[in-house]
Amino acid sequence: MAKRLRLSELVNEIDDAIQNRFAGETFWITAEITDVKKQTDKRWCFLKFIEKEGHLITAEIKGVFWANTFHNVEKFEKLSGQTFASGLEITCNVRVRFHKRYGIDLEVLEIDHTYSLGKLELEKQQTLDRLVKENPKLIRLIDGQYFTSNKSIELPIVLQRIALVTAPNSDGQRDFKQEIENNQYGYAFSVSEFLTQIQGDNSSKLLIQKLKMIEAEKENFDIVAIVRGGGSQTDFKPFDDYELSKYVASFPLPILTGIGHDRNTSIVDLMARQHKTPTKVATNIVEHNYNFESEIMDFKERFFETAESLIDEAKDNLLQMKRTVKAYSPTTILNKGYAIITSNDQIIINPKDIKVNTEIKTILKNELIHSTVTKKSKNELDI
């Protein structure tokens, strides 16, 4: 009879064997994940890696992120805009571990984000490339920035008549209107709503229809706001549609977009003025008008301050003139002891006009002195 082992002895041997083969070694694998269980409080994530042939699972092994590598999961969600969940294919670096009670699993050390994002981004990039290539007059790519006809339309100096494109009863609709209607400055807006489904296969066509309705009465609006609340990456797919993006790029009214969260950027966003979230679109519209009002207030201050100083200056000048007139008046001069000399009722300014034997009048403060000139000589007094 063969030798009987205690379970722990066998498990120890398995452990040794695995240690011998895998200790210190890491592997890069690409596999689909399933049964993803995140424990955000502990920063753990349990999952299974699987490989399929058709519907048949041909390989399966447990996987785990511990707290020291959990940031990979968060980074994945931040970069991709989608939840780290079953059905995704990821590429990651793993270590084979064996636990005497819980068995064998793969500890994930790192996710290759470029691979995971690659698939989604590739499709989007292809659409962008095609937009630029097929519409050189509408869309240009310069230093990584997309310049479109729509983005180059100057915003009206004040934005008040808004065509809002969004989904009925959605968070985006509510957030946008709340921010607009309760703006802190009390600005008035008229918001015309063009509501449509914005999720699902047909959405991009429905969005185009709504924009066409707006275009038909474009003189009634200052701008178009396209808003949508947050969602997963696939929810934003309609906004990566070629035809919709092209139409947005060519649209005759400025379009402001707030699609999803800070981390999402759709192609439609790139073709228009992107403000990230519905609330931010609204805030920007309000601030745009506030900037205008501030300029008007600056004008007001400058104009009225200058007007006041003009009036003050005029008053000062008048006062000065009064003083001058008073200072030069004959009364003031006579009061000081000076005299005025006249001959034939003409004030003598040039002494050469007076000849010897001429009769002259000397006008003093309270008296007139009549005299005849008897002698003239050079003035050698030093006054």
Partner: protein, 71 residues
Amino acid sequence: MNLTYNKAYNDLSKLVDQIEDDKIQLDNLADKVKQAKELIDFCEAKLRTIDKDVKAALTDKKPTTRKKNRL
């Protein structure tokens, strides 16, 4: 009333330039002050009322308040 924000802005900006460059005679000052005030009132009223009510608001002379301090 055919006044637009753009026209009000441009006219006001011109008035400010004129007065700052001493191009306004005292004789015209009262007139220019009146013009500036009308342009400012127009903007303030229009910002806070939808289009068709602007006229009413201007004749109404409702005081408008700015809640946020200017920068």
